[in-house]
């Protein structure tokens, strides 16, 4: 199955209510492990999130977020260790600054910043991860599909 048809098959129209597609970029040590804990504790959550594991939030290039939107994501979650708890001492501080700036850029470009969730979820916060996922899905569902890129692509000759 080509990726294009995969997107087509999951287009909002095929479901009764709009099911947003969320990409999550998470660090290996806190949030990924926290999501593992959510699994072992059987914390139920909505299935709209697709996860990309990275060593640290410091590794998360803002280009990843843009790429996800380009590929049809309606929302993005970025999550890592709490400030002060970074496995790599301070990667999440760099990430925090980078994303503060990125939000400004999103506003400038006219992308609703509510489509992106930045959160800190530690390895012991399985339930919190479930909450972050569900809250983000509900918020993005209310915002509706992210069509800006699609429109842009159509407009571009």
């Amino acid at each position: 199955m080509s990726t294009a048809t995969a997107i087509e098959n999951k287009s909002p129209a095929s479901a009764g209510r709009f099911e947003p597609r969320i990409a999550a970029f998470v660090c290996n040590w806190c949030t990924y492990t926290g999501a593992d804990l959510a699994g072992t504790s059987r914390v139920q959550m909505m299935p709209n999130v697709r996860m990309v594991r990275l060593p640290c939030t410091g590794r998360i290039d803002t280009a990843f977020i843009i790429k996800a939107f380009e590929r049809g994501a309606d929302g993005v979650i970025v999550s890592g260790c709490h400030p002060g708890d970074c496995h790599y001492s301070e990667g999440n501080y760099h990430a925090r600054r980078r994303f503060a700036m990125f939000k400004e850029l999103m506003n400038f470009m006219g992308i609703d910043e509510r489509r992106v969730t930045f959160s800190w979820v530690s390895a012991s916060e399985g339930r919190k991860w479930g909450d972050v996922v569900d809250e983000t899905i509900e918020r993005v569902r209310a915002l509706g599909p992210f069509d800006d890129y699609k429109t842009l692509l159509e407009e571009t000759p």
């Binding site: 199955m1 990726t3 995969a6 999951k10 597609r21 990409a23 990924y32 492990t33 999501a35 593992d36 959510a38 699994g39 072992t40 059987r42 914390v43 139920q44 959550m45 909505m46 299935p47 697709r50 996860m51 990309v52 594991r53 990275l54 060593p55 640290c56 410091g58 590794r59 998360i60 290039d61 803002t62 280009a63 990843f64 790429k67 996800a68 590929r71 049809g72 994501a73 002060g84 708890d85 496995h87 790599y88 001492s89 301070e90 990667g91 760099h94 990430a95 980078r98 479930g130």
Partner: protein
């Protein structure tokens, strides 16, 4: 062209219950580059692993994707299987369809769809995985122990007895720590010094222990197996090689009324002093802030004032002009064993909350002392030679009141935790008091009696039942001096009655706090610490003596309040960890490290500024005749920990992180 094999695990029913594993295998089999796709009940079992190995051989696979549990669970297993079949282990990755899928969703359709997506993303990533080999780094096979209390001594002795050299650094003039100040120890009431001093001497004389007393760690560079530690040897003003510890200098020193730190301020010492008679090493130090010679010099006087100690020294060992010296030591592992200090309610002002307990009048009401001062009063080597006497008038107190949980378990005073040892040492104090003052009455105000430990509860019962200590459950709201006695106003929460009583002496069981300066030391070592300053262990249950920095370990009360048996056990645990580490000539590390594309690096060194480990170095690029062409960034693979912060910061995208390259991540996103 990639030849990827996909292996979908049922995990018994764990995955298969909510995910249609056959459908996942079928769908993934259609992906471009996937030439083999199967599902099986237990992939991690021997037959499951054999399936992977056989498929690699049979289909000449160039990549393996296992859709199963979390990579934290079984990535190692499947990478080992992959390597066993002759394929580079880093060409194998896992898609998490259990913790992140089957266990958290109910809808079979949605879970199956998610599992297919997750597997497809990993397939696209694996197509771009490169074969990697583990990094080997050499190991300096000796250790540094910071802190010469009982934990540090035990760790040093265990490592040295295990055959490795140890550098033991102690900031005070003598090793021994707080344990050397104690009178007797619970729950056996054996004399603290009698069990400690032989260990101190053993550490001092051990051929494989290098002891630095009156010294502090100045800086730490490097990484596991290869630390370079700079130690500041503070100027002792006494030549350690020449001094024979005769004590003549102390006898002639005219400043003899300085409160002794060892006696918790109850005894006196001279300006040139050995902290206590059994000190190791038995070499005095000059307290430059109290010594007349140095004080005159500090004021700018050119006249030589005093100098009697130098005259009295037959060996010419007193050197007023000695300076601090810096020495460096190479070690492969570090133990932090810096111990604790007691919450000084009169003086600790480092946060707004810690100013509390004015109502207990510590430092202003005479004969209100803390637990350590009581230890010194009860100690045979103490200022009263073991007699329990009031500090104010030297009278024997007939009634002593002990207040527990001073600071501890009191969020309003800034310390929420239980200091763990106070219930036990207060019970011990009541017994020591009764054994020395037979007609005396000990009263204890407590919140709860926490006496968990071998023989501990029996010990507190003995204090109450055999030695007649009166335990009152409740807090004291106020105490003040009334003539000869101290008036105590409190409340018995069991009877519901207010209590008013007189005491000759009050002992406060103040909280245990980490040593001052812990934050600075932790930062030098890049280890994390909690809001109180206690060092964080790597995992509270499974890695209790490691820290978040590889190669740095923790022992004793600098990690959390601990008693002697706990500290010793922890120290021995660190020693066994370190002996294991130092048994290797080389260490193997995951090859997830950054590398620089030198052709595009513009030498802006943003990467150097964001690197928490100092792994980015400057590299000169020279032409054939040796002329400098330009400078580029270069990553030291031994130091790099692989966080990837430098990549996201690099404006020219000249950095890559093996295992998580931009190409890999973008491919995963494109398969989203």
């Amino acid at each position: 062209m990639s030849r990827i094999g996909v292996f979908v695990c049922h995990c018994g029913e764990n995955i298969a219950r909510t995910v249609d594993t056959a459908a996942v295998a079928q769908e993934c089999g259609k992906l471009p580059g996937v030439i083999h796709s199967v599902d099986y009940k237990y992939m991690c079992s021997d037959p499951g692993q054999l399936m992977v190995k056989q498929a690699i051989a049979e289909h000449k696979l160039t990549g393996v994707v296992v859709a199963a549990c979390s990579p934290h669970m079984h990535e190692k297993t499947f990478r080992r299987a992959t390597a066993g079949a002759g394929l580079n282990p880093f060409l194998c990755e896992m898609a998490n369809v259990r913790e992140h899928c089957s266990w958290i969703h109910e809808s079979r359709t949605a879970a199956t769809e998610k599992a297919i997506d997750a597997t497809r993303m990993i397939v696209e990533k694996v197509k771009r995985n490169a074969p990697l080999s583990p990094i080997h780094i050499p190991v300096t096979r000796r250790a540094l122990v910071i802190g010469g209390g009982i934990a540090g001594i035990q760790a040093a002795l265990d490592i040295a007895d295990g055959g490795r050299e140890v550098v033991l650094v102690e900031k005070e003039p003598s090793i021994g720590g707080h344990m050397s100040q104690l009178s007797e120890t619970f729950p056996t009431l054996d004399c603290s010094q009698c069990i400690l001093t032989p260990r101190m001497v053993e550490a001092f004389q051990h051929p494989r222990i290098k002891l630095y007393t009156y010294s502090e760690v100045e800086s730490v560079d490097g990484y596991i197996g290869n630390f370079k530690v700079t130690i500041r040897k503070k100027a002792r003003s006494v030549d350690e090689a020449n001094c024979n510890g005769c004590g003549a200098c102390q006898a002639v020193c005219p400043n003899k009324k300085i409160p002794s730190e060892f006696d918790a301020g109850l005894g006196k010492r001279s300006a040139i002093y050995v902290p206590f008679p059994q000190a190791v090493p038995n070499i005095p130090v000059i307290d430059r802030e109290r010594c007349s010679y140095f004080r005159a010099k500090a004021k700018g006087s050119t006249k030589v004032v005093c100098g009697k100690c130098a005259e009295a020294c037959g060996k010419g060992a007193v050197h007023f002009d000695q300076q601090d010296t810096l020495v460096t030591e190479d070690v492969g592992a570090i133990v932090v064993a810096t111990g604790y200090r007691l919450y000084d309610i009169g003086k600790d002002q480092d946060s707004e909350l810690l100013k509390g307990y004015g109502e207990y009048g510590y430092g202003t009401v005479p004969d209100v002392i803390d637990g350590m001062q009581f230890e010194r009063l009860a100690s045979a080597s103490g200022p009263t030679a073991g007699k329990i006497l009031r500090p104010s008038d030297g009278k024997e107190p007939t009634s002593v009141v002990f207040l527990q949980c001073i600071g501890s378990r009191d969020p309003s005073k800034g310390i929420e935790y239980c200091s763990k040892i106070c219930c036990m040492y207060v019970a011990k104090h009541t017994m020591l008091y009764k054994h020395k003052v037979h007609h005396g009455q000990a009263t204890v105000f407590y919140m709860d009696i926490r006496a968990a430990g071998k023989g501990y509860d029996e010990f507190t019962r003995r204090a109450i039942e055999e030695d007649g200590a009166r335990y009152v459950r409740g807090r004291v709201s106020r105490l003040y001096r009334d003539g000869e006695v101290i008036k105590i106003l409190g409340f018995d929460t069991l009877s519901g009655e207010p209590i008013e009583m007189d005491a000759d002496m009050v002992v406060l069981a103040t909280a245990m706090r980490p040593q001052a300066g812990m934050a600075e030391l932790a930062q030098k070592l890049s280890v994390s610490y909690d809001k109180h300053g206690f060092i964080n262990e790597a995992h509270p249950k499974l890695r209790p003596v490691e820290t978040n920095t590889a190669g740095v370990f923790v022992a004793g009360a600098c990690q959390s309040p601990r008693d002697i048996p706990d500290s010793v056990a922890m120290a021995s645990a660190t020693a066994s960890k370190i002996l294991g580490l130092l048994s290797n000539e080389q260490l193997e590390r995951e090859p997830t490290v950054a590398r620089v594309d030198e052709s595009t690096c513009s030498a802006c060194f943003h990467c150097e500024r964001v690197c928490a480990y100092g792994a980015v170095e400057h590299k000169d690029i020279r032409d054939r005749s040796g002329n400098l062409v330009r400078v580029v960034a270069s990553v030291n693979k031994g130091v790099c920990q692989g966080c990837g912060t430098c990549l996201a910061t690099c404006p020219s995208k000249s950095l890559e992180l093996d295992g998580f390259t931009d190409a890999q991540i973008h491919a995963a996103i494109m398969a989203f």
